[in-house]
């Protein structure tokens, strides 16, 4: 098995097992209200963390660059009610233009 084949098989099995774990463990019964109240707050916590770690970090270094400005422009488009595809194109264009100048 080549190194890239082993990588693909390993990552595929790992991610599939992690997606399966929650539904297997927490299936079949309704969660208590306290747990549901936490579930309702999971999306803002996870999404905000994903945004800042991808916009303000380069690996394990904190960094602000043209990509950060692009993300801010894409966010402004989202606040203005634009579709997600418009927002990501705005972000990419702003980022690319800032890098080019």
């Amino acid at each position: 098995m080549s190194a890239s084949t082993a990588l693909i098989v390993g990552v595929a099995l790992t991610t599939a097992a992690m997606k399966a774990a929650g539904p297997i463990a927490a299936g079949g019964r309704r969660l208590p209200t306290a747990a549901l109240s936490v579930v309702a707050m999971l999306a803002p916590a996870l999404l905000a963390a994903l945004v800042v770690t991808s916009a303000f970090a380069d690996g394990t270094d904190l960094a602000v660059g043209a990509d950060t400005a692009g993300v801010a422009a894409g966010g402004a488009a989202a606040m203005w009610g634009r579709s997600v595809i418009v927002c990501v194109i705005v972000a990419a264009v702003v980022c690319a233009v800032l890098r080019a100048v």
Binding site: T15, M18, K19, A21, A48, S54, A57, T60
Partner: protein, 243 residues
């Protein structure tokens, strides 16, 4: 089951699936742009075009794919690349636990349905009462799966023409994708506070933990939902939806 207690006027599974398809198409287009940049990063890391395409087909998890090829291309061991993928993917543990009660069937059937969860479809399928609309989930994931493959194939075959993805600003696409989802979640003051706390936790951890860990630990900000006032607000919103 929620599917039989939502009343006579509730949309059918087919209608919910189609609503999911419609909601998922813009995210699918954005996922297509994102997967072009994945393909370029993967080629740069030394994967062949065919291996790059196969990885998107069998893995279909953006952050795990990006994290693992970054380690692989940087000369890291196979084990390190798989661990990086697992950490980047770790938010799917709490996400999967949250959606589990909304998936019918035995453990195997729930595990298979759980494979269709991606960030955007999980957020789109969430109902205010803490349950999830699985048909909307399936519908919104489908265009994203298809476009993830289309973008990967395009990037893998045209990689030499496109060149450096950063030159095209494609590294701004991934955070913007999640920012659009986040803005849709900030409906009330508590959600905004939790988002702020999650962002702060993640930023503090970025320099001192491996990629993926900051996001997993940031999920602890959701424990704000345990406060008495949060539970009361939650029950009130759930009752409004049920009425």
């Amino acid at each position: 089951m929620t599917e039989t207690t939502t009343g006579a006027l509730a949309p059918t599974p087919r209608q919910r699936f189609r609503a999911g398809l419609r909601a998922g198409i813009p995210f699918g287009l954005a996922a297509g742009v994102l997967s072009i940049s994945f393909a370029l990063v993967a080629l740069d890391a030394g994967l062949s075009p065919l291996a790059t395409i196969i990885m998107s087909v069998v893995v279909f998890a953006g952050s795990a794919q990006f994290a693992s090829v970054a380690i692989f291309g940087g000369g890291g061991s196979l084990a390190a690349a798989i661990v990086a993928a697992a950490l980047a993917h770790s938010r799917f543990l709490p996400m999967g636990a949250s959606i589990g009660p909304s998936l019918p069937g035995g453990p195997l059937r729930r595990a298979l349905q759980g494979q269709t969860v991606v960030d955007s479809s999980w957020a789109l399928a969430a109902r205010p009462d803490g349950s999830f609309d699985r048909w909307l989930l399936f519908g919104s994931t489908l265009p994203q799966y298809v476009m993830w493959q289309v973008g990967t194939i395009a990037g893998a075959l045209a990689g030499d023409v496109i060149g450096d993805p950063d030159r095209l600003g494609l590294d701004a696409v991934f955070p913007t994708f999640f920012l659009v989802l986040l803005i849709g979640e900030l409906r009330n003051g508590r959600a905004r506070s939790v988002a702020f706390a999650g962002a702060a936790i993640a930023l503090v951890l970025v320099p001192i933990t491996p990629i993926g860990v900051p996001v997993l630990v940031a999920s602890l900000a959701a424990l704000a939902g345990l406060s008495r006032r949060a539970r009361e607000d939650f029950e009130r919103r759930a009752a409004e939806v049920a009425a």
